[in-house]
């Protein structure tokens, strides 16, 4: 068996084990199930790593059933293994592995359902990252969504879980119908579902109303999953209630896959016809990214429920990734890719820390727990390190990703992007540091007595432990080390640039898929590595300063405090918008589609 026959296995292996678990898992003892799931996920990690390594040499295509295209007409369904898809599949597998190891002491009465759903989720994400077919993309999208809805509602005794899962399911289903209508329209125009063939059919033609409509529908549908403003409302509801290892996957890789799908479809299918409007699209995406980044960061800093805090930080970071991708240059996309990897690891580690706190105290409310985390030992250190990493402190990978994007934007004449990055990463990192200081050091003083969060949340373990057990700490440490590795591995930046340049070349993709000619090797843009360490250090310092400011704001002079209170009406307006009512969320989705559609229509008519 050569490596060229491996591509379907990251999907087949977890699905098969999930099916076996559902069929016979009830009779297996708990530890056997755990060992089985961990082994399976390790196998998937290795498979994805192999595929990634092979695709770094040259991307390749796998045709199911050997149905190769004839004369440029696609007959079958393909997986395209390129470094971007491979890296995302590997990220998903690593995060699932961390989640499973962490769950060793977790959920006493889970049975086979939870691991089976997690494995289904993993297989769907891997397929989503690797597929080269539009409808396949939709099917994997739905599969991962359904697994995610069910996982969100794991704690079925809690109303909040049920409502969070319901809102999540309804908004994401509306998103997937938007995608499906878009796919149907583009199939009606081109008669093709294969991304490369759709791209070849649209190549060089002016975009008419139908193509624009299809693009708007597909992009906004996937943006619902990517939690970009104004499609983001479901995210915080789902994150607050989902079990911790599931949150790791949601924040670390699932929403990023939404953005990946937008970009993949754009660069393979629509770039040939929409490239003339690149400048206009860039402005639109910059605006959407900036809005997401700022809104997420502000709401993150205003949170005291740890999981919701981390959820809003994810929205902010999705905005930053979008800004990177919207540069439409290899450097911008490479920066976003590196940032996604590092952020996935960091955010995963932080969520796992929050989970340890939840299990120990039955709550993740920062004010209620003030000072009570002193005895958690290493968790303190890891959580604070995660906060610094989130703010982009060098040498974590978040820093190099950010630096690449800032560099790319500045070269396009958008120097203001650096300011957004500085402010948003300082706010999100600062929120985590503030929470760490108040939880573990007991700093700060409760000014705001009104509590929205429930008094007591269901713990996910029954065991009382004084110190966090090693199987829970080890994955956190491993994830943070991986984030460090992303930043310290010098070859990574150049590989990312090369991968991004290949990702953004529709002609090369089409020749790879349609004529299976090995495409010309993309030469890496030879530029010196960016000097972003200063900005990274600045945002880490800013995060620490903001955290201290928030903790000791009661000691500030009266005049300054009044100044701070001026922002309160705005903040409560923002909170009111996040109403928790799914009907409102759908209104925002419709409004978002309308704005995006209007903007693209104006672009197309102006030529």
């Amino acid at each position: 068996m050569t490596i060229n026959t491996l591509p379907p296995f990251p999907v087949i292996v977890p699905f098969t084990v999930a099916a076996l678990l559902m069929a016979g898992g009830k009779r297996l003892p708990r530890r056997v199930i755990d060992a089985l799931t961990i082994t399976t996920t390790t196998v998937v990690v290795l498979l994805c790593a192999l595929l990634l390594a092979r695709s770094l040499d040259a991307p390749f295509v796998y045709w199911f059933g050997g149905w190769q295209p004839r004369d440029g007409i696609v007959l079958g369904i393909d997986f395209v293994i390129d470094p971007v898809g491979g890296a995302l599949a590997l990220l998903a597998a690593l995060l699932v592995l961390a989640g499973f190891v962490y769950s060793w002491r977790y959920f006493n009465e889970v049975g086979p359902l939870y691991p089976a759903l997690m494995l289904t989720f993993l297989g769907a994400m891997a397929g989503f990252a690797l597929t080269g077919d539009l409808f396949n993309l939709f099917v994997f999208f739905e599969l991962m969504s359904v697994a995610a809805y069910a996982l969100t509602a794991t704690k079925i005794e809690e109303e909040e879980s049920l409502m969070g899962a319901f809102n999540f399911a309804v908004s994401n289903s509306v998103g997937s119908f938007l995608v499906l209508v878009g796919i149907a329209l583009i199939y009606g125009r081109t008669g093709a579902l294969n991304l490369a063939q759709v791209g070849a059919a649209l190549q060089g033609r002016p975009a008419d109303g139908l193509v624009i409509a299809a693009w708007v529908l597909i992009a906004s549908g996937f943006s619902v999953k990517a939690a970009l403003v104004p499609f983001h409302f479901w995210l915080a509801d789902a994150h607050a209630v989902a079990p911790t290892p599931v949150c790791v996957l949601f924040s670390g890789v699932m929403v990023e896959l939404g953005l990946y799908a937008v970009l993949r479809v754009y660069w393979t299918a629509f770039a040939g016809t929409l490239a003339v409007h690149e400048d206009g699209l860039r402005i639109m995406l910059f605006v959407a990214g900036t809005l997401s980044a700022i809104l997420g960061a502000v709401l993150c800093f205003a949170q005291r429920h740890l999981k919701r805090l981390l959820a809003f930080s994810t929205i902010s970071h999705m905005g930053l990734f979008l800004i990177g991708a919207a540069c439409f240059t290899a450097d911008g996309l490479a920066g976003a890719g590196v940032y996604v990897l590092a952020h996935g690891f960091v955010k995963g580690g932080l969520f796992l820390c929050a989970g340890i706190v939840l299990n120990r105290f039955g709550s993740v409310d920062e004010n209620r727990l003030r000072g009570r985390g002193r005895f958690l030992g290493w968790v303190n250190v890891l959580f604070a390190a995660g906060g610094l990493a989130l703010s982009g402190m060098p040498p974590f990978g978040t820093c190099s990703g950010k630096a690449l994007i800032e560099d790319a934007a500045e070269r396009l004449g958008h120097g203001w992007v650096s300011v957004i990055f500085l402010v948003c990463s300082a706010l999100t990192g600062g929120a985590v540091l503030r929470a760490a200081a108040s939880l573990f050091l007991g700093w700060g003083h409760d000014l705001n007595k009104e509590a929205h969060t429930p008094k007591h949340e269901q713990k996910e373990t029954d065991e009382k432990y004084q110190r966090a057990p090693l199987v829970m700490l080890a994955p956190v440490a491993a994830l943070l080390l991986l984030a460090l590795g992303v930043g310290l591995w010098p070859a990574l930046l150049n590989e990312a640039r090369r991968a991004a340049a290949g990702f953004q070349d529709p002609v090369r993709y089409a020749s790879l898929v349609l004529s299976s000619r090995p495409p010309a090797v993309v030469s890496a843009p030879q530029e010196p590595p960016p000097h972003g360490y200063l900005m990274g250090a600045a945002s880490a310092l800013g995060a620490a300063a903001l955290a201290l400011l928030a903790l000791f704001r009661h000691r500030l002079p009266h005049a300054l405090r009044r100044l701070g209170r001026a922002g309160k009406p705005l903040l409560s307006a923002l909170h009111a918008v996040h109403s928790g009512h799914v009907g409102d969320y759908v209104v925002w989705i419709v409004a978002g589609v309308a704005v995006l559609g209007g903007f693209c229509a104006v672009l197309a008519t102006r030529g």
Partner: protein, 114 residues
Amino acid sequence: MIYLPYAVVAWLFLIGLYGIISSRHLIHLTVCLSVVQSSTYVLLLSIGYRRGAGAPIFADVPPGTPAVDPVVQALTLTDIVVGATVMALLLALATQIQKRRGHLDPHHLRPMRG
């Protein structure tokens, strides 16, 4: 080209969305979601439709007999399966919410806030 099916698609999609937005009952909301989804079935089938063509079954017919596009029919089937899964899950969630709270009005059921 006949525009009626596409008008039906737009109508179903929008009226379903309106139903979701204005709904006061989670079961009603779930059904509205399936109305939105029905619009995608109609869209897919009308894209593959050819006037005067038969079903895409190629046994016992001379080669070259016109048939409607089988691809979109396969897509519709997949879509129906996906829809059934989502609906089943949403209805199960609604049943659980009813058990805990005794009502299903989304205006009085909010996830965690703050």
